[in-house]
């Protein structure tokens, strides 16, 4: 289990250019596998274009109480990049003027940003009705000051989306660290207790499953059934939907793929599972990702790869909806992770 981010370890792969090189060399350079660009061009889907903006996904900081082995953010307690109130103010200005209806807060652990609650409250005042918070669950149990998060979420009718690798302790702790399973279970029970995830409840609680290793997720419906059965039988826990998402070959997951000599096989698996229909709904087509320091990206993954939006407006302070709509999405081979099987963005496959 990793205890430090790649950045802290001064790993070669903490450098996003190095990651992009790896994704463009080797099997993609010698033509063994088609590049993502060539692949989507086969079905006339190149260039991929942004449609109307619906969701603002704001990454409020890379700090996290966990150091999951395959984190695509390379998050951890040692990451100090945190969004300031000033940048949040700029986001609020945009929220007031945009047609986007959903605010999706992510991190790291977004709740660790000292201005997290303030931001949610202000955004609610600014007219946001649909909040998504990507909560890792353990944060709710990490410190007393977070114990009342379920109540806070409830007050603002926040849609909670949480990672849960498996319904058994062994598989969960292997991926996310010792003790994570027990804490997550406790957090889920507390969310259930205030009404989250209960049948017919408006308080939405969805879980995200991503594989613990170099393989693709299985059928989402079947996994959801197994998760529901497992969590209900053993812990009386309920939740709404399960999103089975594919790990993208970037950051710590790429590091793992290379170190375990799974990289090529994994890329083959992604390309084999390519589904042209999933290209239509990749999340970058209706989402804009904003980094902790206010820069704009097509998605959280491009943010981590340091691939800025292809537009004159590059920072939240220069935000211009017309300039951004219809922009060409910046792509590379990591995008195959979004088009494998049924498709993989949490929004794309809502049941």
């Amino acid at each position: 289990m990793a205890t430090k981010s790649l950045k802290k370890r001064e790993s070669d792969l903490a450098n996003s250019n190095r990651q992009l090189q790896i994704l463009s060399n080797g099997i993609f350079q010698n033509g063994e596998l088609p590049t993502f660009k060539d692949k989507i061009a086969e079905t006339n889907q190149f260039p991929l274009k942004a449609k109307k903006l619906e969701i603002l996904q704001i990454n409020v900081g890379y700090m996290c109480n966990q150091v999951c082995e395959h984190c695509h953010v390379d998050a951890g307690p040692d990451r100090k990049e945190i969004m300031t109130r000033e940048t949040m103010q700029q986001c609020l200005e945009v929220i007031k003027n945009t047609g986007a209806h959903t605010l999706d807060l992510t991190g790291g652990a977004p709740e660790m940003n000292p201005d997290f609650r303030w931001f949610v409250e202000e955004a609610a005042k600014a007219g946001i009705k649909d909040f998504i918070v990507r909560s890792n669950l353990t944060i709710i149990r990490a410190n007393k000051k977070y114990y009342d998060l379920p109540e806070f979420f409830k007050k603002h009718n926040v849609h909670v989306v949480s990672s849960m690798p498996h319904w058994t302790r062994g598989k969960t702790d292997k991926q996310r660290g010792d003790g994570v399973f027990d804490k997550s279970i406790k957090a889920l029970q507390e969310l259930n207790a205030v009404g989250y995830g209960m049948p017919d409840s408006d308080l939405r609680l969805d879980l995200v499953y991503n594989p613990s290793g170099a393989f693709l997720p299985g059928d989402q419906m079947a996994m959801e059934k197994d998760f529901k059965k497992g969590l209900m039988e053993d812990f009386s826990i309920q939740f709404h939907n399960l999103f089975a998402i594919t790990n993208l070959p970037i950051s710590r997951f790429l590091d793992y793929l290379i170190a375990s000599e799974n990289y090529e096989d994994y890329m083959y698996a992604l390309v084999e599972a390519y589904n042209p229909a999933a290209v239509e709904n990749v999340m970058c087509t209706n989402t804009l990702s904003i980094s902790w320091d206010g820069y704009l990206f097509d998605c959280d993954f491009n943010q981590m790869l340091g691939l800025p939006v292809n537009s004159k407006a590059k920072h939240i302070s220069e935000y211009n909806e017309e300039l951004l709509e219809g922009r060409n999405i910046v792509i590379s081979q990591h995008c195959y992770g979004c088009t494998a099987g049924a498709g993989s963005s949490c929004q794309g496959v809502v049941a």
């Binding site: 498996h166 613990s212 693709l216 996994m223």
Partner: protein
């Protein structure tokens, strides 16, 4: 010349068997696909049966494929190992139950 009988990357080429006999190849894959669909047994249960049989058949391609398939379906390693023991128990049982044949023969010839 390849130096081993088995090459992991050959598994990816399995589909190519249709190139030398399209009709039978396609019929086989159609049948194969149908067998593994959700039915009276779940696809997950079928995957575990396949894993056990892969071991009794000692087919490295199938072991590779159904270990991965199990992981994709959220099958735990404990479940996988138990499934293999079922296969192993039947295999050893099948060996040992023939001991009765041996005993019969001894009793007949040397009774």
């Amino acid at each position: 010349m390849q130096k081993t009988y088995y090459d992991p990357s050959d598994l990816r080429k399995f589909g190519k068997i249709t190139e030398w006999n399209e009709e039978l190849g396609n019929k086989f894959f159609e049948y194969y696909g149908k067998v593994f669909e959700e039915g009276a047994l779940t696809a997950r249960e079928k995957s575990l049966i396949a894993l056990a049989v892969a071991h009794t058949e000692q087919c490295p391609y199938c072991i590779d494929a159904y270990t991965k398939d199990g992981l994709q379906r959220g099958v735990t390693k404990e479940e996988m190992m138990e499934a293999i023991h079922v296969g192993a128990a039947i295999k050893s049982g099948a060996t040992l139950v023939h001991g009765v044949q041996m005993m019969n023969k001894v009793n007949k010839l040397d009774g």
